[in-house]
Symmetry: C2
Subunit: 553 residues, 2 copies
């Protein structure tokens, strides 16, 4: 209820991955990145040693807020404020590691229904108090941090709005409250035999409302579609009133208001619930691994898979650098095990595949009725063979599936080694995919050493494939420059972002805009697009209290 | 170029269907609708006998317009003004039959590129001249008629912007200019082996820009998706500037501006081109007919077809009243021939199917690789059998396919008999489909006699099925009350529209809002939704010159 399970200083609620479980990772990172010996993970700082700004909301104002909500739905304690102070970007985590929580909210509220949400929003609009809707707190783009100096801020934690309101088993829709986190939403649907099929990396922590507000895409977006495709209707409480879109499978009633709530990032209102397109849980899920000699072979095979016949449910194509890391991790006691032993590697090597060289790993998964899935897998393997793909079998895929949400925990482990690590997301057409990939790699590989990060390591994973194109998620590692972490990271991020836009990639495929990407939004959507977003802001949030500084500052 | 092929007083450009070719239709309509004997089709009125208002744009203003466009791109003659005076709704056609063209544009322009469009829009904004973007002129909702009294009006015919700009065969996208009509767009794509797969009833006349501006859905929307799903990027010239969305398969960069252009109905700007998601032409197309004992059987079968496995490309389920008309027309010399002869009917009758009674016809079509399509058809027939569906075979489907664009011509024929005929479109969830159907039927069946239309005939066709729901297109026929046609029709239309909204259908599935449905738009999208549409209008069209009175008056 009061999110006691969320750490204020690191990812999520699950168990951390201890550094000692990754001896090879440590060794290889030291070699690759030229890290000094005797690395010590930065000690985590107890909350007692952290100093927060004094709350800017005084007792009389708090008293008026207490008329709207029960006692336990309003918190001003240090833990609640620290838990809701920022997202989980590299910048955020570095600050937290140092014990810096510069902009905590003054108050955290936990409304339990839409009426309470509307009450608090109206209360805030009257007083020019800022409201930040808070789902799982996993923003990677600085999308939920209060603005310094500007307004007293109430962060609205939606975790009590977490119910499956109703399920329509004829029309395959589910009304779900916005604060439902991935696991609780799936559990409620699974209990009735259904699934939403939305599995972003942040799945364990993030919420339905957060997914809709950021136009999220999950690992199964190739089969199930992104959150845009899965959302049929929303309710959003704005300071101007409630925007409610109709629960209709398709309509031609002017511009789509649903698509204004999708991607609104809390800047236009608080999404309180949505009617989602759900499906019966699949009878079978088969995830397989295929190894290609070269990235272009993997991309060509992947394009064929989505353009010809039934597209896979899940695809994930790692470039050589990412495949090398996966291969290395597969030997760690707690790591992926898609290459069961060195014997397989020796065999692959004789066949000309090099998991630590040029080879690229594709994970491809299908879901549905068992025989149907078997056939699709057979066809997919045949398609991959035409590009010299080596079928690693289901073990590789199962291993990927088991560890599909591990990435952010692994990031914490790597951060604990004192490294710099961040991720960028973009998408482009098939015809521009290799070009964009090369441009991003060149930009980051040039920027890391220039910014004092050593030789660095840049790796890309391709996902969410459609007949029209594909997404790219690029992760870079480098040596951290103590005391200048933020400046160093920001320079690399800038160089990468500008390279992406120059090469006609999108500014974001699934992380959203937040505050970090605002400087480039005009370049992405043009001056008329910016004028439209600002007009929407003035209309829905005339006092400018909704998540100030995010999306449309 | 100057659309000499478009009639000003009836549908389209193709050959009319002579009344004499439909002896049975005449007989049955007379019986059903209690029509008087000796019906004479209203004589069409020569344009010479029609009086148009004097143009409200004087020579000095015209001279300034001539600086922007070549001589032949500006027309003020009677034919051009009459051709562009209104859409093709019942109201429009009744007026035209009477020789009434109350609100013609003052000038018709034919820009040949986006620069000319932008020039004319800027010129008009400076002078408070209204601009109406004109595609195929097929609006059924009064979406392209100049406002009486308000502004001098320039109708912008986009027929010269009709080129396939480029085709990307890797990423399956095509940049196409907005004025391309269905047949020329498909011909250009087909020549390169591709198709858009968008086939609304108006296909022969309507244009890409019109489809996007009205959020059109075609007959193959179940397989290919509606125009929303097919559109990847647009360019729209607004008085504020050009709105250009990025050519990207997926993005998370704030609210989708693409979905503001989709459905904008000319009220925000002129769509000049779009990047469309195209596909290779299918190797095989198989369209089959299946007859069901009852509508609910057909609906249940259809739901299974779209929810289980691969959805059909085309579906069209006729209720009993529509099936009866199709059955009757099948015996006309020029009509459908899905029931090849009376022998089949006798056989069907022995099996308990009654094409002139309760039975309902489903057309279901699949497209793709030949063996794959054969398998899908086999599965579909098996699914239909579980609901006692009788497989009529491919002849019924082929007949449907051949005559798929005939409906508006048939409407002209029926109008020529002096009847009232109109069509409403809506959509709803599966669980509400039968309820909505019954409510609409009851409302129209009650309204027709009340409004002097005799007993009338109401028939519905279900199409565009998704896992979440289905669209309903309801056509009604009745006796026309000479001299009071518009009032009579409007009362029935109002009753039907209110019934649809009461029963939670959408105000429009594919016809759009235009001017006719503006009174109900607030009920559909709510006060906050209306505030948003108005804010967009103020932002993109501050002078209010774009298609005034349509969508957001």
């Amino acid at each position: 209820m009061d999110t006691p399970d969320l750490y204020w200083w690191r990812w999520g609620a699950g168990k951390p991955l201890p550094l000692d479980d990754y001896p090879q990772l440590q060794t290889m990172l030291k070699a690759w990145l030229d890290l000094p010996n005797g690395l010590e993970p930065p000690a985590s700082i107890p909350l007692d040693d952290v100093t927060l700004n004094a709350p800017r909301i005084d007792d009389p104002v708090l008293r008026s807020l207490r008329r709207l909500l029960p006692e336990d739905a309003i918190r001003t304690d240090k833990l609640a404020r620290a838990q809701h102070a920022c997202g989980r970007s590299y910048r955020n985590l570095v600050c937290c590691q140092r014990g810096l929580v510069p902009n905590p909210p003054d108050v955290v509220v936990y409304p339990a229904d839409e009426g309470q949400v509307a009450g608090v929003v109206a209360w805030a609009a009257d007083r020019e108090v800022a409201i930040i809707p808070f789902g799982g707190g996993t923003s990677l783009t600085n999308g939920i941090e209060p603005e310094p100096e500007r307004h007293p801020t109430v962060t609205m934690d939606l975790s009590r709005l977490n119910h499956l309101v109703s399920l329509n088993t004829d029309s395959w829709t589910a009304r779900i409250q916005a604060g439902a986190r991935g696991p609780e939403l799936e559990a409620a649907l699974n209990a009735r035999g259904f699934t939403l099929g939305h599995f972003p990396h942040s799945f364990e922590c993030s919420t339905l409302g957060g997914w809709i507000a950021t136009r999220s895409a999950g690992q199964a977006a190739t089969g199930y579609g992104t959150i845009e495709a899965l959302t049929q209707a929303v309710r959003m409480v704005s300071p101007t009133g409630i925007l409610e879109t109709k629960n209709i499978p398709a309509a031609a009633t002017g511009p789509s208001l649903l698509h204004l709530a999708l991607g609104s990032e809390g800047a236009y209102g608080v999404i309180t619930e949505a009617t989602m397109r759900v499906r019966p849980q699949p009878e079978a899920q088969e995830y397989h691994g295929v190894l290609f000699h070269r990235l272009t072979d993997g991309l060509n095979a992947l394009r064929d898979l989505v353009q010809q016949g039934t597209p896979p449910t899940v695809v994930s194509l790692s470039d050589a650098a990412d495949t090398a890391v996966l291969s290395m991790l597969s030997h760690e006691p707690q790591g992926w095990r898609w290459l069961a032993d060195r014997g397989i590697e020796a065999y692959l090597s004789r066949r000309g595949y090099a998991p630590n060289g040029e080879s690229c790993l594709l994970i491809v998964g299908y879901e549905g009725e068992a025989t149907y899935v078997k056939n699709l897998v057979k066809q997919a393997v045949a398609t991959c063979r035409t590009y010299d793909g080596f079928h690693l079998g289901q073990a590789a895929g199962e291993s990927w599936k088991r560890d599909r949400f591990i990435q952010p925990y692994l990031r914490d482990t790597i951060l604990a080694m004192g490294m710099m690590v961040d991720t960028l997301d973009t998408a482009t057409t098939w015809s521009n995919a290799v070009n964009l990939y090369e441009v991003i790699n060149a930009a980051i590989n040039a920027a890391i050493p220039t910014c004092g990060g050593g030789s660095g390591h840049v790796m890309t994973r391709f996902g969410h494939a459609t007949p029209g194109g594909i997404s790219l998620t690029t992760t870079f590692w480098g040596r951290r420059m103590p005391g200048q972490e933020i400046e160093q990271w920001w320079e690399i991020k800038q160089a990468a972002t500008e390279a992406i836009l120059e090469a006609e990639g999108t500014l974001s495929h699934h992380q959203g805009i937040g505050r970090d990407r605002v400087p480039w939004l005009g370049e992405e959507i043009g001056p008329v697009g910016m004028a439209v977003l600002k007009a929407l802001k003035r209309t829905l949030d005339p006092e400018g209290i909704m998540n100030p500084g995010v999306l449309v500052p």
